[in-house]
């Protein structure tokens, strides 16, 4: 086991990693930016070093200062958490170059999965279903034939694209020519590369993801699924649950089989998540996150496994202590993300001083948070304040528990998503478990119209 781990993150996930380390008897080094000096993750670590000012580029993304901190404190490993440097293959490689174990998969796997085109190709080779699509389309005629083959609606995408630039939804042949020209022009002006390809548009899909864990000895286990379809219009997740409701055994088995093939194909090590779009009887691979996810606690609760401890054990060279058949999920868990955001104003992030903070407790409630009464929310970072997780023997019990927990929660000083989460929990769509990724945007439009 490691002697000392540098936690290259802030906020609740830095605390989460600190907890796992302390419980394993591993010492910790926190890094922090100047406005985070009074943060709990700083207070709870064995040592803490300021690595830069507020802006992330000069602190939590400052690879030289982070590596230097790890070296002068004699750390033997680095846990990147999520966000920041967690999926930066170069950072993973630099850690290795300095004799530090990066707690995550290899730089090669991070690189492969980080490049969406390469990831899709690798997945197809591993017989994982990906969204049907084409190669580069040289002309509108070729696009027309491709769309007919795929079936409308389709999505035109710029091969150099990103951030929605050079992307067009095409619902029928009438729109194709105009959409093609528009996308081409936009791609040309944005990326100086007007080449387009086409994908089938999956209408009203569910976002279902599968948790995998692989050790350095070729053992891979699947730790079930999570439904993360309650997403803001920006596609950021707001509420997640495990397991996904109303998922047919056929789809579930197919998802698990694909995830296992994918992990084995790339010799995946450590924790990772395969994200799928599920529509009807089809599941399409979207991307793989080569890190711990924000929503990992729901899986921990139904599997009674500490995923972050598992990450550390695996990175330290330990073999998984169980096989797939030992793993039995139990009950149901739901997570609500409590963000410093104004849900009535397009989830605009808020910063400020927290005048009063009271979290819920009692049976089946887990709270992961870095905030406290009198603390501040700096303007530089992710707006997530807390994750409230509720466990119940049944999905219904978990929802009832989450509702009472949210009603117990007090956060004064900034706007939060508590009320928005309560509104979601009260809908028929959510209580019945029949919802897809267009659910929350639709609910918000209704609220705006009312």
């Amino acid at each position: 086991m490691f002697k000392k781990v540098l936690i290259a993150n802030r906020g609740e996930i830095a605390l989460r990693i600190n907890r796992a380390c302390r419980e394993l008897g591993v010492k910790t080094v926190a890094i922090f930016s100047e406005p985070d000096r009074e943060s709990l993750h700083v207070r709870h670590a064995n040592e803490a070093f300021c690595v830069g000012p507020g802006p992330v580029a000069r602190s939590y993304l400052s690879i030289p200062n982070i590596i230097s901190t790890a070296l002068i404190t004699n750390c033997d490993a680095v846990h990147p958490g999520y966000g920041f440097l967690a999926e930066n293959a170069r950072f993973a490689q630099i850690c290795a170059d300095h004799g530090l174990t990066f707690i995550g998969p290899t730089p090669e796997v991070i690189g492969t999965m980080g490049d969406k085109a390469t990831a899709k190709r690798v997945m197809r080779e591993a017989k994982v279903e990906t969204t049907p699509g084409t190669d580069i389309l040289e002309s509108v005629d070729k696009a027309r034939r491709a769309a007919k083959d795929l079936g409308y609606p389709v999505l035109l995408k710029a091969t150099a694209g990103g951030g929605g630039k050079g992307m067009r939804v095409v619902t029928g042949p009438d729109e194709l020519e105009r959409a093609f020209a528009g996308a081409q022009n936009e791609a040309e002006s944005s990326f100086k590369d007007g080449r387009l390809y086409m994908e089938k548009l999956i209408v009203s899909p569910r976002h279902i993801e599968v948790q995998v864990l692989g050790d350095n000895f070729g053992n891979v286990v699947i730790l079930g699924d999570r439904d993360c379809s309650v997403q803001k219009p920006s596609h950021q997740k707001l509420i997640e649950e495990a397991p996904a409701a109303h998922l047919s055994e056929k789809i579930r088995n197919s998802l698990y089989a694909m995830a296992l093939r994918a992990a084995q194909a790339v010799h995946y090590t450590n924790a990772g998540t395969l994200e799928f779009l599920v529509s009807g009887d089809h599941a399409y691979f979207m991307e793989m996150n080569t890190r711990i996810q924000v929503e990992h606690p729901v899986t921990e609760m139904v599997y009674n496994i500490d995923l972050v401890k598992e990450q550390i054990r695996i990175a330290a060279g330990e073999a998984l202590g169980y096989t797939q058949s030992d793993l039995r999920p139990r009950g149901h868990a739901i997570e609500c993300r409590i963000n410093a955001e104004d849900a009535r104003n397009n989830f605009a992030p808020a910063a400020g001083t927290l005048t009063n903070v009271v979290f819920p407790g009692g049976p089946g409630i887990r709270v992961d948070t870095h905030i406290y009464s009198g603390g501040t929310v700096p303007p530089f970072y992710d707006s997530m304040l807390a994750k409230i997780v509720a466990f119940g023997e049944t999905r219904e019990a978990a929802i009832a528990r989450m509702e009472r927990a949210l009603r117990e929660t007090v956060i004064e000083g900034v706007n939060t998503t508590i009320q928005q989460c309560l509104e979601v929990l009260a809908t028929d769509a959510f209580t019945s478990g029949h919802y897809a990724i267009d659910f929350l945007p639709g609910l918000l439009r209704q609220a705006d119209a009312a």
Partner: protein
């Protein structure tokens, strides 16, 4: 941040500052900073001026801070409290990832404190030296 806005902000900062008892105010933000210092008060009567208390911080003192994380090492000749330093004297260096990053006096003055020991790990923003500008 548009230029006009900056002028407006500084103006209101000055107004607020003059309303306090502070003699010096320094605000750092996003890598830039604003510093305000009060001129010797014209209304202070000499009769009331007391000798400076021994533990009051000396005026016109700048902290030389580390801008990276590493191991602090003195340069030669060994800087000592009381030394007069030149405008670009290398007082020490912070060793990080095998590179020696020099720590300079950034302007001349008298070295009033040496805040770190040789070989000590230092963090970003940590005060290494204090120099009284003359």
């Amino acid at each position: 941040m548009p230029g006009n806005n900056v002028v407006e902000r500084v103006r209101s900062l000055v107004v607020a500052f003059l309303d306090t008892d502070l003699v010096r105010l320094r605000i750092e933000r996003d890598g830039g900073h604003v510093e305000l210092r009060r001129a010797r008060s014209r209304s202070a009567t000499p009769e009331l001026a007391e000798p400076q208390a021994p533990d009051a911080p000396p005026e016109n003192v700048d902290a030389i801070k580390s801008d990276l994380v590493g191991i602090f090492r003195f340069s030669r000749p060994l800087p000592q409290t009381g030394d007069m330093v030149d405008s670009d004297r290398e007082l020490a260096y912070v060793e990080a990832l095998g590179i020696r990053n020099p720590v300079r006096s950034i302007g001349s003055g008298r070295l009033v404190s040496v805040c770190c020991d040789d070989g000590q790990p230092v963090e970003y923003g940590q005060t290494l030296f204090e120099i009284q500008r003359v």
